[in-house]
C-alpha cells in the first residue's frame, strides 16, 4: 500500500498546566458530503445506518458513524475507514429511488482535536461566534481566521475541527499561538 502523507502528522500542542490544553491530529476516518432533498432524509438515514439530524447545527452519532447537518440539504458524514465502500454502495443503491450526491471527501479534510478546560479560550483566538454558547453535541461550518472549517463540540471541553488540508497549517499556527498565551497565562 502507498504511504499516506498528512499535513500535520505527528504534531501536538500540549499545554500541561493545571488547566490543560491538548491539540492533536485526529485519526483518519471516511468522510462524505451528502447533498439530498430533506424530504428524502428517512431513506438517506437508512442507507447510512444512522438517523440524520434534520436541523442545521445538529449532529447524530451511532457507533463510530456521525452525521452533522451543515445546510438545509447538506450533511457531513463520517464513518470508520473500513466502512467506506459499504457506505458508498448503500448510497449507490439509493440513487435509483432518491437522487442525491454522495461525494468522498475523506482526503480533502484534516481532523484536529482540541481538548482541555482552556479549549474555548484557544478557539476564541479566531472564532467570531459565541463558542461558549455552542451546545455540546452540535456542529457547524464557520470560519477560523481565514480558514473555513467544520467545528464540532463533542463535549464541554472537547472540540474537533475539520479543515481542508491546505488550510490545516494555518489553523494549527493560530492554535499554537493561542496555546502559548495559555501556557504563559497571559
Amino acid at each position: 500500500m502507498m504511504h499516506e502523507h498528512h499535513p500535520l502528522v505527528g504534531r501536538e500542542i500540549a499545554i500541561r498546566k493545571a488547566m490543560p490544553l491538548i491539540v492533536r491530529v485526529a485519526a483518519d476516518t471516511a468522510r462524505f458530503s451528502l447533498r439530498i432533498d430533506p424530504a428524502e432524509i428517512e431513506k438517506a438515514s437508512k442507507a447510512f445506518g444512522l438517523n440524520l439530524p434534520a436541523k442545521i447545527g445538529e449532529t447524530a452519532i451511532s457507533g463510530e458513524k456521525r452525521a452533522i447537518c451543515l445546510g438545509p440539504d447538506e450533511w457531513y458524514l463520517t464513518a470508520p475507514l473500513a466502512e467506506q465502500e459499504a457506505v458508498e454502495q448503500a448510497f449507490a443503491d439509493l440513487y435509483a429511488t432518491a437522487v442525491h450526491s454522495l461525494v468522498d471527501i475523506g482526503h480533502r479534510e484534516v481532523g484536529i482535536e482540541i481538548e482541555g478546560s482552556d479549549a474555548v479560550l484557544a478557539l476564541q483566538s479566531a472564532l467570531a461566534f459565541d463558542i461558549e454558547a455552542m451546545p455540546v453535541g452540535s456542529g457547524c461550518r464557520t470560519i477560523f481566521d481565514k480558514a473555513q472549517i467544520v467545528l464540532l463540540r463533542e463535549a464541554e471541553n472537547r472540540f474537533r475541527i475539520e479543515v481542508w488540508r491546505s488550510f490545516a497549517d494555518h489553523v494549527w499556527g493560530l492554535l499554537q499561538a493561542a496555546g502559548r498565551e495559555i501556557e504563559l497565562d497571559i
Partner: protein
C-alpha cells in the same frame, strides 16, 4: 462587524461567515434572447442604489452555504430583516414591524 440572521440556520451569525451578492429581486429573464439590447443592459448593469431601504442578496458562505435575501438600511448599515431566497419582497407592513 455586523451580526446577520441566516433565515436557513435561524440564527444570528457573525458577518465574517457571509458574503454580499448584489441587489435582490432581479431575476434572470427566462429567455434572454427575447430581450432588446436596452432591456438586457438594464438587467445587467442598472441597479437602484437607494439611500435607505435596500433589498439585497447575501450568502451564508462559511455556514449553510445558502443565498438569501435581506433588507438593509444603507444609511445606518443595519439589517432590518432577512428572508429566504425565492420569497417575495416584504410588504411595507412587514418592514415596519421588523423595524420596531
Amino acid at each position: 462587524m455586523l451580526l446577520i440572521r441566516c433565515p436557513y440556520c435561524e440564527a444570528e451569525r457573525p458577518e465574517l461567515e457571509f458574503t454580499y451578492a448584489g441587489e435582490a429581486h432581479i431575476a434572470r429573464p427566462a429567455d434572454p434572447s427575447q430581450l432588446t439590447d436596452e432591456e438586457w443592459k438594464d438587467f445587467l448593469f442598472i441597479r437602484s442604489n437607494p439611500r435607505g431601504t435596500h433589498f439585497e442578496r447575501w450568502r451564508h458562505q462559511h455556514g449553510c452555504g445558502r443565498f438569501f435575501n435581506a433588507v438593509r438600511d444603507t444609511v445606518s448599515d443595519k439589517f432590518v430583516m432577512t428572508y429566504k431566497a425565492g420569497l417575495p419582497r416584504p410588504t411595507e407592513t412587514e418592514l415596519k414591524e421588523a423595524r420596531s
